[in-house]
Structure formats: C-alpha cells, structure tokens
C-alpha cells in the first residue's frame, strides 16, 4: 500500500520483557452466545482470575455494556475517581457479538469512570478484540489497578494462557504499537489476522480526552488498522494504569463460534441484510463507497453541519470537505468491515498518505477514516476546509490516542475564545487559533503528545478549560458557559441541535454526556415535524435511547439498523424505527441464544441497564437534573451574529410561538426574548421526558418503576432512596 515500512525488531522487544504473572485457564466453548464467566485482571497486584456469570446477572444485565457496568458498580466506591486504582476499564461483548453473519456484529463495549465527567462512560468500538476475547472464553474483561511500570496484558485464547509482563521497549503510539503486537504474537502471516490489541498513545498520557484504539489486521493492506473507543477519556485511564496494550490472540473463528441455537435463521437473516445492502446502499447512504463521510453534504444542506464552534450549520467552503473530496483520498474496492461479515463496510482508509507535520513527518501511513464526526469536528467546526489537513489531524488523533470528537469540539471552543479575545498569542505561547489554522491546530496536538505548552491546557478538555480561562484570563463566566460545548463535562458530537428541541434533549439527557448514540431525532423533529408535542418528543426520547441502548448490550453496531433501509420501509407504520430491521434483531438474538424475545422485551432489557447506569451516576454524586442542561450554544443563538444569520427563522418563531412582534426590536432584545422562551421550553421537555422514563422531576428513577422493569436490586434501591429523602 505504498506505506513507509515499520520495522519491528521482535527479539529486541522480547529481550526487555519481564514476566510478572502467568495464569492458565480451562478452555471451554461458547454456549448459545455466552461463556458465563468474565476475566478479572489487576495490574497493581497482578492478580488474574475468572469470575462466574450468574443466571441473575445474565437476566438483569444481558451482556455488553450491562455486564461492564455491573462489574464496575461492584468494584468501586461512591467516591472513586477516574485515576483511583479501583477504577476499571471493562470491555464486554454481549451474546450476539462475534457472529459473522449479521452486518455490524463485532462491537466491544468499554466502560470506565471518565476523567472528563466523573461518571461512567461507555464507548462502542469495532476491531477484532471483543469477538476474539469472547471466543477465547470470556464475556468481559475487567481491568483494575495501576501498574508500576509499563505493562502489556496478553491473552492467548487457543492456549488458555494469560500473561502480564513489563514492556519497556514497545511504542506507545498506536499505529506502531499495533504493528508490533502483530509481529510479536503471530507465528505466521495468517495469524496476523488473529491478533487484536487495545492501546492508546502519547497524547492520552497528557490529556483527559484520551481514546482507545482497537486493532484489526487488514490482510490486503497488510496493515494493523485501528478503530476507536473514542469518547470520555478511556485512553487516559489506560495510560494512567500504565498499560501499553491489552492483546488477544484467537485462531479458530467460524460461522458457528457462538454456538447458535438456530444457525439457519441466523444465516438467512444475515444474508437478507447483505443483499439489501448490496442492492440499495449505492442509492441510499453510500456507506460502502465512503462510509459516514457521506453525511457532510447532507448536514450542510440541512444547516446542521457544525461550523465555527456550532455557531452556524453550513459554510460556503464545505464542498471542499464533502464526501467526494474524501472519496479521492481513500482506497476503494476493499471489504472495509471493522468485523467479519459487515458488508456495510464503512471503515474506510487512505493508504500511502504522506504526513507533513509532527514526529512522523515525511512518512507514508494508512489513515483510518475519516468518519463524519471527524470531518465535522476537525473540519467545519474549526473552519478547516482542507481534506488533507483533516486526514492528518485524524491520523495523529488516532495514533496519539485522542478522541477526534472531543478534540474537534474543544479546539472549536479555543478558536472562538481566540476570536473573542479571550486568548491571544501570549496566552497560547505563540499559537495562532484563527479559524482554519490547521498547522497550529496540529502543533497544539503535538504539544499534547509531548506534554508541553498550551497543549497541556487544551488537553484538559472544554469544561476545565472554561474554568481555567475564567481564573487565569478573566474570561466572562457566562460567555464561557454559553460557548463551551460540553455537557456533564463531555464535548458534544458534531450536529447542530439549535433548532431541534428533541435533539437538545437527546444530547443533554444522554447518560454519559452529549453523544448522539442515544438519540438522533433532528430529522423526525425539525425536518419532518413528526413529533410536534411534548408527549411525542418524550415518547421518542424514551423509545430511541432504549432501542439504541440494546446495541450496547449485544455488541452490535448501530449503523446497519438505519443507514440502510428496506425498499418498502417508507410504507411501514413507523419508518423511523425501521420495523423490519428491529424484527431482524429479535430473530438473530433468538437464533443465537435460543431465547424467545420479542420487540417489547427487547426494550425492557435496555430499560434495566439504562436505569442501572443512571443510578450509578447518582451514586457517584451526579445524574441530577442540573446535569442535563445544555450550554445555550446548543439550544439557540448566543450572539447577535448568530441571530442575524437566521433572522427570518427566529423572527418567525417570535411571532408564531412566543407571540411577540419582532418589528422595531433590536437584535439584542429579540435574542433575549428568544433565549428565555427556549430555556423554558427545554424545562418543559425535561419534565415530560423524565415522566415518560419513570423518573421524578429531579430525574430519579422511582422505586415503583425499578420494580416494574425488574431492576429493583437492593443496592440500586438504596441509592435511589437516599436521593428521594
């Protein structure tokens, strides 16, 4: 692929390994999608052991994120912070995970207490690690403790062997480390495909927005590629634990690895979706051609593409970074699934891409991406309309172990602070944050990786930067709150939610912070006007978060659910739900587990875990109503400039919704009235949604509700009762 070769001296790496612990376990096949045991690893004490999964745990928590959260709950205290040794990184899969038939079935769910939010973060990630760990014998791995020196945790799923060893010589940056792991552990060329590593990078050592990379070896490109568990700083936690990598090796994957109860139904359902994708994707989302980057022009068209720190929703230069621009850069015609059997194949990559900055300047590398979120965050939102610059930012974020979404949103905040004079060259150590300055944006990232300069301040993330700017640069606290696009401490993902009340709720009520994976309702709400009343919105903000939570319980990717739709979907009762695909999920769940689930019970499985997660946030002192309030930038125009950019829309809203005649009023005055109105509307929305979810007006799940859904565990009720008192 014309990349600069990465030389790995395996002997030199091995010579410096110091074995700290070795553990052997009995190999047992998966039964109906479950191992019924998890793996516990403590890198402080080097304890390794298996933990049985009880029938009750399976019933209440289903798997995936449910298991991860349950293990985390049991491991921490009410005061555990992200960098305490008892904080964990839990990677869990779920019963459906690892099947090779249904597109999008290879996801791992990672759970940890986040350095950005102080509550559990959950992140859904592709790559081969999760499925291989599952077929190695475990439904989850739970990693606790902090090592003294850099270690690697290695799981050999064919031998039943687990090792912890000191690994001082391996790289920290993921694109090199992942190659080294393949060279180190594969006995031959074919086995490279059987190895997957979880790692972070040097950036994660100095910033709170660290991400994890999950590798998957691409036989055609001959490159260990990377998928990210991006959100919430889990990479930071990994490096704080002094873990360089967690590696799994498993050979023996087959179409029956999950021991499905009904192989034929599983195969048939998967094949049906494959055929749908092959037939319709070219006319629908073009995921096979360019992945999620196809969204750039759609978002721009609907005024939803985040531009200049979410001020605007489109830009005249956006065609320069639309899907066609990236189509020119990525390699085509390869089966780009992040797990076997995903014909949606959205995991695009550019090869032989020459870097122009940083420690790898001049080298030709494979860049995984870009995904839409990266183009929005590290492109339009920071005013960078240069596709090669976006690719380079993408590459360095990944290899340094930094989340492109948080990086983009926080850099947009920095740039607006520069524009408003809060920052200047003196305060940034000479960096210039004029919109679009990609060189200094990259330089800031290299500073993060080196742990120096303004990069260290930026690496704190938006919430802590706001405080820093108020304390040190005398910034206006109200302005900081309005334009720093974070909620609960997590940076927003890349959609403009200003004109969609439902999406404002979808973002800021999301348990972990404003990521759109709980709900994406902008089209239903703003474009198609399908959920006009508070009751409608509340119903959508109940159903969709619950439905989408289920992907996380099962180890599924969300994209094949609605980024391709059956040809007759529009004629169904509820097209937004894609009813046929929901039925597919029920069918494959039953086909694998031998269960008898229906669409209603599917939601119930999610509700249990969702409410458990909510109560876990409360146990850690958060999960309050006040934690669900967005910064105003995500709810409406903060500045006159923004008001005037959409004056017709806002004036009309004043006239029709607020009952105020805008004529003769100054923009400032209209802005104030509109803001008051929107903030009030948002409070109404919270009331309606909490009620629908079975929560009090403070957002506390009621004991009756917990009993109804079967999540009335004593430890859960104890926390709730503490909050009701």
């Amino acid at each position: 692929m014309n990349n600069t070769k990465i030389h790995t001296d395996v002997d030199a790496l091995k010579a410096r390994h110091v074995l700290l612990k070795e553990f052997r376990y009995e190999l047992r096949p998966v039964v109906r999608g479950y191992n019924m045991r998890t793996l516990y690893v403590n890198v402080s004490s080097n304890e390794i052991r298996e933990k049985p999964v009880s029938e009750e745990m399976k019933q209440k928590f289903t798997g995936g994120k449910g298991f991860g959260l349950k293990l985390l709950w049991d491991a921490i205290s009410d005061t555990t912070r992200w960098n305490d040794p008892e904080n964990e990184i839990n990677i869990a899969m779920g019963p459906i995970c690892g099947n090779t038939n249904y597109p999008g079935s290879g996801k791992s769910l990672v759970v940890s207490i986040s350095p950005l939010t102080d509550i559990p973060i959950d992140s859904n990630v592709g790559g081969y690690f999760g499925p291989y760990l599952k077929f190695s014998g475990f439904d989850a791995i739970e990693i606790q403790g902090k090592a003294e020196r850099d270690v690697i945790v290695y799981i050999d799923g064919n031998q039943g062997l687990i090792q912890i060893f000191e690994a001082p010589a391996e790289a920290v940056d993921s694109h090199i480390l992942a190659e080294q792991m393949v060279e180190l552990f594969a006995d031959n060329d074919l086995e490279k495909m059987h190895i997957s590593a979880v790692s972070a990078g040097r950036g994660a050592e100095h910033a709170l927005i660290g991400c994890l990379n999950f590798s998957f070896y691409d036989r055609r490109r001959k490159v260990a590629r990377l998928k990210q568990a991006g959100r919430g700083g889990i990479g930071t936690v990994l490096r704080d634990k002094k873990i360089k990598a967690v590696v799994v090796k498993y050979s023996g994957l087959s179409g029956k690895s999950n021991d499905p109860a009904d192989l034929d139904t599983l195969q048939r359902t998967g094949l049906k979706l494959h055929k749908e994708i092959i037939a319709l994707d070219d006319q629908q989302c073009r995921m096979r051609q360019i992945g999620t980057a196809h969204l750039v022009e759609i978002m721009d068209e609907y005024d939803l593409l985040p531009t200049h720190n979410f001020k605007f929703g489109r830009h005249a230069d956006s065609p320069k970074i639309n899907s066609h621009a990236f189509y020119e850069l990525v390699t085509h015609g390869l089966p780009d699934g992040c797990w076997f059997g995903c014909t949606m194949a959205c995991a695009k990559a550019a090869d032989g891409f020459e870097l122009v900055t940083g420690p790898y300047q001049g080298q030709r590398v494979t860049v995984d991406g870009p995904e839409y979120e990266t183009v929005g965050g590290c492109g339009s939102n920071v005013g960078i309309f240069n596709p090669r610059a976006i690719m380079e930012i993408n590459f360095y974020c990944d290899t340094y172990g930094l989340d492109t979404i948080s990086f983009g949103t926080m850099t947009a905040f920095i740039m607006e602070c520069w524009e408003k004079g809060v920052l200047n060259a003196e305060r940034t150590g000479g960096l210039d944050f004029t919109w679009g300055n990609w060189r200094d944006t990259l330089e800031m990232m290299h500073q993060i990786a080196r742990g120096e300069g303004f990069g260290l301040i930026a690496g704190l993330g938006t919430r802590k930067m706001k405080e820093y700017f108020i304390d040190h640069f005398d910034a206006d606290p109200q302005l900081m709150q309005d334009i720093g696009c974070e909620c609960k401490g997590l940076e927003y993902s890349q959609y403009v939610s200003k004109e969609s009340l439902a999406q404002q709720g979808g973002y800021s009520m999301a348990l972990k912070g404003p990521q759109h994976d709980e709900a994406w309702l902008i089209f239903m709400d703003m474009v198609n006007n399908q959920i006009p009343t508070f009751t409608d919105k509340a119903e959508a903000l109940h159903y969709f978060p619950m439905f989408r939570t289920w992907f996380g319980l099962q180890g599924l990717c969300k994209l094949p659910w609605n980024d391709v739709e059956p040809a007759n979907n529009a004629q169904t009762d509820e097209p937004a739900k894609v009813p046929e695909h929901v039925q597919n999920y029920v069918d494959i769940y039953n086909a694998i587990t031998g269960g008898n689930l229906n669409k209603k019970e599917l939601i119930l499985q999610s509700e249990r875990v969702y409410n458990f997660q909510k109560v876990l946030c409360m146990r850690l002192g958060r999960g309050r109503r006040s934690d669900d309030i967005p910064p105003f930038r995500m709810m409406g125009p903060v500045t006159v400039e923004e008001y005037e950019s959409r004056q017709d829309r806002y004036d009309q809203q004043l006239r029709e919704k607020v009952g105020v005649d805008p004529a003769g009023k100054s923009s400032e005055e209209k802005l104030r009235i509109l803001r008051h109105y929107r903030e009030e509307q948002y409070q109404h929305l919270l009331n309606a949604v909490y009620k629908r979810k079975g929560w009090t007006s403070e957002g506390v799940p009621t004991p009756e509700h917990l009993r109804k859904i079967g999540m009335d565990l004593p430890e859960v009720l104890a926390v709730v009762e503490r909050h009701l008192r």
Binding site: T100, M193, L263, R268, G270, L271, H274, I278, P335
Partner: protein, 130 residues
C-alpha cells in the same frame, strides 16, 4: 479459464445435473445443495444458473481472502479460511454462489464436470478458454 458452459435452449428440465452435483459433493440428492440450478422460466423453457468463473466479485468481497482463483482460472473457496459470512453470496450478480440450510459454508461450481455426463441433451459442457 475453465468453466461450465450452459445452453439454456437445450435444457429439458430433467434436473439430472443437480442430482449429480449434489450427490458428488453432499452424498445426497437435494436440489438446493447443487451448485448448478435449473430454473423454470415463467414463459416456458429453463435457465441454468451456475458460476461462469468470470465476475469474481466474491473474490474482492471476501473479508478473509478465502476465495481465490486457481491455476485453471476456477474460483475456489478455501474452507479453512472461510468464516461463513455469506458476503460472497450476496454480492454474486448471477446467484451462482450458494447457501443452503444445514450447510455451514457457501458453495459454488468448481468446474469438475461431474454433471456433464448426466445431461441427456448436452446442455452443459466444460470448456477451457484463454
């Protein structure tokens, strides 16, 4: 390139080829397990569906590179590498890559010629083309 050439107009729908193929590879006579399929056309006559070894879309689509082309130009599946995703089946433009209930892996015509002898009308023959 070696392949099984078909002459739809000669086929009389006796299904002997399907029996021969299914017996050869699965030791039982089940039409769905044959790599050649005799399809009755709505307006009379028959259409023979079988791999012509030409499209090769499956080769590019297979995530594990289990599908390769052998020296004779025949598209072959390596069952040791196949993980049964059936992407190859979905992508085949002529439905020649097949899946059948009760069978773990996909299967297709390997141009072995076993079926040719059974055909009473010479509607199929093995040919080798440059």
């Amino acid at each position: 390139m070696k392949y099984l050439k078909t002459y739809d107009e000669k086929c009389i729908g006796c299904n002997q080829c399907m029996t021969a193929c299914s017996m050869a590879f699965f030791k039982e006579d089940i039409p769905a397990k044959s790599a050649i399929q005799v399809i009755e056309k709505p307006d009379g006559g028959y259409h023979l569906v079988v791999c012509d070894q030409q499209y090769r879309k499956c080769v590019d689509e297979c995530p594990t590179q289990a599908i390769t082309i052998n020296k004779q130009g025949v598209v072959m599946i390596n069952k040791k590498l196949c993980i049964s995703c059936f992407a190859c089946v979905a992508v085949c433009p002529i439905d020649a890559m097949r899946r059948c209930d009760g069978v773990l892996n996909p299967f297709k015509c390997v141009a072995c010629g076993v079926c040719v002898k059974g055909c009473p009308t010479q509607a199929i023959e093995i040919v080798t083309e440059e």
